[in-house]
């Protein structure tokens, strides 16, 4: 708490301190004269008469009073000058109104910078439409939810920031963010926002995050290894469709992996980026596990579903050997797929990660290289005929609850402009993230971006992790702990489910979770 007080005080006294220091130099001159005058008295000029002595003392008192008055005036003037400094700035800009938005921003993260640039483009267009207003941005460091809450409650104000959908519940519980239901009614958004995205953005009856972009957790496959396994070109081309229709399931995947490992074509059949990510969520969804009841805003624990989930891991790791036992601490999971050690890979950031780390021209050479060697599909269903799934990471912009009035109005207008398709393109092409606006995919540049156009259909099958405050901090952590237990500690599926149930009962309030 002390450092917050310090930060605030220093910002507010910035101008006051500078002005005070300048005046202090002048005052030092006066003090020096006073001291010298006194030294002269004590060093030799002590032969004054009584009247002269009294006059000297009166002069001295008067001088001290003047100096103290000057000092006091300087301090008061400095404080006022510091406060007036900002007003002077706005006066100097000749009647153009300057509105400053404070953004919690991680400037080292390219994705965040790209998102911010998209928003800034909207504000720039707004400035052109309304030349009497000028927008500026003041950046504060991006913080984790807990520290954000602490600073928010300590009065360190900001206007908006970007985060994942899983943070929603905690932010709402802390009173930090406000609903943004108005977003879905903006002229450039109401008819173009992808319906599933609109649906998934709702938490506890309201939209709290402005959906900026998304990444889809699909299943990637190595085409060259599939053809070595005897798949024809047609089979490889139609594979995504067969997964989508529920014809190609996890069972087929397990058989394919086993064959590839037995033939020595790969080291690992199926890889995820550890157990800490949306990949495990995607598998859970394809197994039909429901973790969250949207209507009641409660978590759900269905014992039978979770038993099936852990049986899958038991078989995949210890029987079929489809997933390596080293998964929990495996370094370089992405590379193991990209370099051909793994047949299938599931993660949200696959394409984007490989493009950024490609040895060559990422813009020109990578798309062709990817097209030649890899393909992608939805996460297969567990049973034939059931729908395939896709996990989505939805990055949203959250607006602090303190933003009101004119600031909020301009933010709405700027967002409306940011969500024009042409303003969405840069973020997609630069970062490989997918736009939440359907009309963006009609643009030629995006049609030429093959990965985006090939995976756009997946948004209809996408589902996101719950925004409930106990999901990210507890539920997901506990179920992933038990995956590690099954893989590393050889826990049986029943032991894992029992452990998960006991942890959920202990740590989550009974009124926040439904046990089935």
């Amino acid at each position: 708490m002390f450092h917050l007080f310090y930060e605030n005080t220093i910002i507010k006294c910035k101008y006051s301190l500078l002005t005070f220091l300048q005046a202090n130099i002048t005052l030092n001159h006066c003090f020096t004269k006073l001291i010298n005058y006194n030294l002269n008295i004590t060093n030799g000029f002590s032969n004054f008469t009584k009247e002269e002595e009294d006059m000297r003392k009166q002069k001295e008192k008067k001088m001290k009073k003047i100096i103290l008055l000057l000092l006091f005036s300087t301090v008061m003037l400095s404080i006022f000058a510091g406060g007036a400094a900002e007003k002077e700035t706005s006066d100097e800009t000749n009647k153009v109104k300057t509105i400053t938005y404070t953004v919690r921003h991680d400037s080292s993260n390219e994705n965040v910078v790209s998102r911010m640039n998209m928003i800034i483009d909207g504000f720039k267009q707004l400035e052109k439409e309304d030349p009497k207003v000028h927008f500026e941005f003041n950046y504060l460091p991006k913080l984790e939810v807990n520290e954000l809450a602490m600073q928010f409650h300590a009065g360190v104000e900001a206007d908006f920031f970007f985060d994942e959908e899983t943070a929603t519940g905690s932010l709402v519980k802390g009173g930090i963010i406000q609903p943004v239901d108005w977003f879905a009614t903006l002229p450039n958004v109401k008819d173009t926002l992808i319906p599933n995205v609109r649906e998934l953005s709702i938490y506890d009856g309201h939209m709290y995050g402005v959906p900026i972009d998304m990444a889809l957790g699909c299943l990637y496959a190595n085409k060259k290894i599939l053809s070595k396994l005897g798949w024809s070109s047609e089979e490889i081309e139609t594979w995504p469709k067969r997964v989508q229709n529920g014809e190609w399931t996890f069972e087929d995947m397990a058989k394919t992996c086993k064959k590839a490992i037995d033939m020595g074509l790969v080291k690992y059949g199926f890889m995820l980026d550890g157990v800490d990510n949306a990949g495990t969520f995607g598998i859970a969804k394809s197994l039909g596990i429901e973790m969250y009841d949207r209507e009641q805003n409660k978590l759900i624990f269905d014992r039978n579903s979770w038993l099936e989930f852990y049986k899958f891991w038991e078989e995949a790791v210890h029987e079929d050997m489809m997933i390596p036992k080293s998964l929990p601490n495996f370094e370089g999971t992405y590379n193991s797929f990209f370099k051909g050690d793994t047949l299938f890979f599931s993660d949200v950031s696959g394409y984007e990660y490989w493009r950024r780390n490609f040895d060559g021209d990422a813009e020109k050479e990578f798309p062709e290289y990817y097209e030649e060697n890899f393909t992608q599909a939805l996460i297969p269903s567990y049973r034939k005929g059931e729908p395939a799934q896709c996990a989505m990471k939805l990055r949203s912009m959250f607006v602090f609850s303190s933003v009101k009035g004119e600031k909020l109005d301009y933010l709405k207008k700027a967002l409306n402009l940011s969500y024009l398709p042409e303003n969405q393109v840069n973020n997609m092409l630069t970062m490989g993230k997918l736009s939440t606006i359907a009309t963006t995919y009609d643009l030629q540049e995006i049609k030429d971006f093959k990965f985006a156009s090939d995976t756009a259909y997946m948004t209809d099958y996408a589902t996101i992790r719950s925004g409930h405050p106990d999901y990210n901090t507890k539920y997901s952590k506990y179920y992933r702990n038990q995956i590690e237990g099954v893989i590393v500690d050889n826990l049986s599926a029943i032991e894992a489910v029992d452990k998960l149930e006991s942890e959920l009962r202990f740590n989550i309030d009974a009124d926040q979770i439904i046990f089935k």
Partner: protein
């Protein structure tokens, strides 16, 4: 008047101590009191705590992971402590007693001290690389070549606690080496000469002269390292993050995770108070082992 002068004299030292007392109160005392108060509340992300009595302490007792984590904490602390102390004693005696040349002694001390100069993250990255599950990683490569294993091992999955204990113990031994080296160098040569005249072997000199004379620094190192190990989790966090499946989670890490990852500040504070209590108990046990009461007895020989 006399009592005023005496009072003033007694207060003089307090004036000099006052700035430091203020700092300690602000940065240690006040937070400790606040933490204690927090343990009786349901402080969470809403920052609107309400009084819940001893509920958090009851929760500790009923936590299904508590005893497992407590066992891991004691194992981690005691084994890492043993490694630190053994390493400190052996290396300081080898380099300061058996090595006669001064330049060589300084060189050894510098090498061990330089280990503290690098940040923990660098060691963590190196350890993760050496013990990664690939066949070409350092540990797997050597073991495969020597025929000790048939297939590469995922060391961080199968031996996470061992790795974390050895990393912490090995990298925290440097401080002990410096202190014990200085203590050994301060032992008068006459003691060694007298022992040799009595026919004591080198091993006898080590066990009957050097180690007994190192009792104070050994006690200091044991107590400070014990307290530090109970509350530290930096290498655990960097190497395994407390996993897999809580196998390397200690109480202090558990307190941190509950407070800052689960937003259960009250519960996290209660666990941290419990950690402090264990530290105090451990320190009292160590004082008893070292016969601290006897050590602080005034000398019976008049000067």
């Amino acid at each position: 008047m006399n009592y005023k002068i005496n009072l003033r004299k007694k207060l003089y030292p307090l004036w000099f101590l006052l700035p430091f007392l203020i700092m300690i109160s602000m940065f240690f005392g006040f937070p400790i009191i606040l933490t204690g108060v927090m343990t009786f509340t349901d402080f969470d992300i809403t920052y609107r705590p309400s009084f819940v009595g001893f509920k958090n302490y009851q929760k500790i007792a009923m936590d299904p992971n508590f005893f497992k984590i407590l066992a891991i904490t004691f194992t981690f602390t005691l084994v890492a402590l043993a490694i630190i102390m053994l390493m400190s004693i052996v290396i300081s005696i080898l380099t300061q007693y058996f090595v006669k040349r001064k330049v060589a002694r300084y060189a050894y001390r510098t090498i061990w001290l330089s280990m503290n100069a690098l940040p923990s993250i660098i060691y963590a990255v190196v350890i993760r690389g050496v013990f990664s599950p690939y066949a070409t990683s350092g540990a797997n490569y050597i073991c495969l070549k020597l025929g000790l294993i048939a297939d590469p091992i995922s060391w961080l999955n199968h031996f996470p606690l061992v790795l974390v204990i050895f990393t912490t113990g090995f990298l925290n031994g440097a401080n002990g080496i410096i202190i014990l080296s200085a203590a050994i160098n301060s032992i008068p040569e006459d003691y060694y000469k007298a022992a040799r005249v009595d026919g004591t072997t080198e091993w006898g000199i080590v066990t009957q002269v050097i180690i007994p004379l190192l009792k104070w620094p050994l006690m200091y190192l044991t107590v400070t390292n014990a307290i530090s190990l109970i509350s530290s989790y930096n290498y655990i966090l960097l190497l395994t993050e407390g996993g897999p499946n809580l196998r390397t989670t200690t109480l202090s890490l558990y307190a941190y995770q509950n407070a800052f990852e689960n937003s259960q500040f009250g519960y996290g504070a209660a666990i941290s108070i419990f950690v402090v209590t264990i530290s105090i108990a451990l320190v009292l046990v160590l004082f008893k082992l070292f016969n601290f009461d006897e050590m602080i007895q005034p000398c019976r020989i008049d000067d």
